[in-house]
């Protein structure tokens, strides 16, 4: 029981807050319901339950190709961003160069620019340089939008590391790389996992940059859903969305279990 003056939320605030929590989950629930519905529009209560839409999605070559492309881009760009981003963050942490603040701002700049602007800029650029539609250019575009998340979480994690532990490792006989690998890396790993998760989701989720860069015979999952919706709503969209929902939920729970994810948001 909370006393009136101890600053804990009262009944009204609690109810309002919980209502907002429900509000946040509503579209997600609706999508899942629609995926199982026999009708192409939604009613409450739903008129029938079926798994047909899931079967349709998982056997459709267009969907499968899109899923494959999305996963390649997401894993690829996250991996590249991890290596490049952690290296850059480490250099900043050890103050190896002057102007750390300016450099950090530059590395974070893709977060500030509207995604659509990055998309159209790359469209023009790739058209000019003939790279349009290649996997390499798509991958680099995704590295640009995911790297800032890695840099940010790496910097945050590194700020909690006592430099003296690395120095101790060096005096004890470890060279620079060993000292990083054996001492610093294990300590920043939880934060990096969180950053990698954000980066992965950002790539998997992305439409505003990707949509300008794909060519006729390739697409990613979110772009496919996006363009499909323009042509009319269909429960198979709900089915593939539900697959994404389940995947995201499972990943979140694993990340929470493994590294206490909630600390890093």
């Amino acid at each position: 029981m909370s006393r009136a003056d101890d600053g804990s939320p009262g009944f009204g605030v609690t109810v309002a807050a919980l209502a907002v929590v429900v509000f946040l989950q509503v579209p997600v629930i609706v999508v899942v319901l629609a995926a199982f519905s026999t009708t192409s529009y939604l009613t409450i209560p739903p008129q029938g339950v079926t798994l047909a839409w899931f079967g349709k999605v998982l056997s459709d070559p267009t969907y499968l190709a899109a899923i494959r492309m999305s996963l390649i881009l997401a894993f690829g760009s996250t991996a590249i961003s991890l290596v490049l981003g952690v290296a850059a963050a480490y250099a900043l942490f050890r103050k190896a160069l002057p102007g750390a603040e300016a450099i950090t701002s530059f590395l974070m700049a893709p977060l500030i620019l509207p995604a659509v602007v990055i998309g159209v800029a790359l469209l023009q650029y790739f058209s000019l340089t003939g790279l349009r539609g290649s996997l390499f250019s798509l991958l680099m575009a995704h590295v640009v939008i995911t790297a800032p998340y890695i840099v940010r979480s790496a910097l945050a994690s590194l700020s909690g590391v006592d430099l003296a532990t690395e120095e101790a490792a060096r005096v004890l006989g470890a060279n620079g790389l060993e000292a990083f690998r054996l001492v610093t890396l294990p300590l920043i790993l939880p934060g990096l996992v969180a950053g990698a998760l954000f980066a992965f989701i950002t790539s998997l989720d992305n439409v505003p940059v990707t949509i300008f860069l794909i060519s006729a015979n390739q697409t990613t999952l979110p772009v496919l859903i996006f363009t499909s919706v323009e042509m009319g709503v269909d429960p198979s969209i709900a089915a593939v969305s539900t697959l994404l929902i389940v995947g995201t939920g499972a990943t979140l729970l694993i990340a929470e279990r493994w590294s206490g994810f909630h600390r890093f948001v």
Binding site: P9, V20, V31, R94, K95, I103, V116, V144, V207
Partner: protein, 283 residues
């Protein structure tokens, strides 16, 4: 201290990628924005003009889109503040064992694919969507409410999308308000409401500002949700740029609009950082 050249080696790969695939492309867009587009032919050779920029201010249609975008940004930011503060307060000050589940419930929709979330709102707000079906069945309305392809649907959808960002920033801000200052106010005779208005709210102001800036900038930059909930005719700046490029193929105009949107975003961020610096003494 590690040596200078090691620092360069560590920083160079990422810096080069960003320079080559971010900085350069954006910079190269600048000249394009001063060219003229001839339908069917492409860029008119040798013609340089300010028309693409002046058109933004003089053309009624463009002006309407800009005002709509900014207005949307403002509404959504306010809505996120009003809805988000109670939830942030509950997470920051409520029972300890609710904290992690609540945070996960806030983060989960945020991680979820944007297209999926927008699709969920379509399923809810369309003429044959869940909301209309429910209201019709309950006999509350005779014909479906128009909740999509207009400002209403867009506001609801965008508020939902960006609410988690606001909540998380507010949680951090409220947790930074020292509880003993609130206790001091209470012992000096303040009622609960007064403590909140006079102490908690002002001291969480930097977080409120940070969250508001974030949501505002994200909202005016949004492409997916406005496109899906607003349709091809009800435009905001990002969807306008999309159409200029993909449908009209008018790259010069699209580039100019892109820079306009970018300056708006950066301008807002710069203004807020000036404000925060003035407030820094308050902490």
């Amino acid at each position: 201290m590690i040596r200078y050249r090691h620092g360069i080696m560590l920083l160079a790969p990422l810096a080069l990628v960003l320079a080559g695939f971010f900085l350069l492309p954006v910079v190269m867009m600048l000249p394009t924005s001063f060219r003229e587009y001839v339908p069917g032919l492409g860029l008119a050779p040798g013609v340089w003009t300010l028309e693409n920029y002046t058109r933004i201010i003089t053309d009624d249609y463009y002006r309407e889109v800009i005002w709509r975008t900014l207005g949307l940004g403002l509404f959504v930011t306010l809505a996120c503040l009003l809805l988000g503060y109670p939830l942030a307060y509950l997470i920051a000050r409520g029972p300890e064992r609710w904290r992690v589940p609540l945070i996960l419930l806030v983060v989960f929709p945020m991680l979820l694919n944007l297209v999926v979330r927008s699709f969920g709102w379509i399923a809810l707000l369309a003429n044959r969507g869940l909301v209309n079906n429910l209201l019709t069945e309950l006999g509350l309305i005779a014909s479906p409410l128009k909740l999509m392809f207009n400002l209403t649907g867009l506001m609801i959808g965008l508020t939902h999308i960006y609410l988690p960002f606001m909540v998380l920033m507010l949680v951090a801000a409220i947790r930074n308000v020292p509880r003993d200052v609130e206790a001091a106010a209470a012992t000096l005779g303040s009622s609960r409401a007064h403590v909140f208005a006079a102490v908690t709210l002002p001291l969480s102001a930097p977080g409120i500002l940070a969250g508001s800036i974030l949501v505002f900038v994200l909202t005016i930059s949004a492409l997916v949700t406005p496109r899906m909930l607003g349709g091809p005719t009800f435009k905001v700046m990002a969807t306008l740029i999309y159409d200029e490029y993909m449908q009209l193929l008018d790259w010069p105009s699209g580039s100019a609009l892109s820079f306009a949107l970018t300056f708006m975003a950066i301008g807002v961020i710069w203004l807020s950082s000036r404000l925060t610096r003035n407030w820094a003494g308050m902490a």
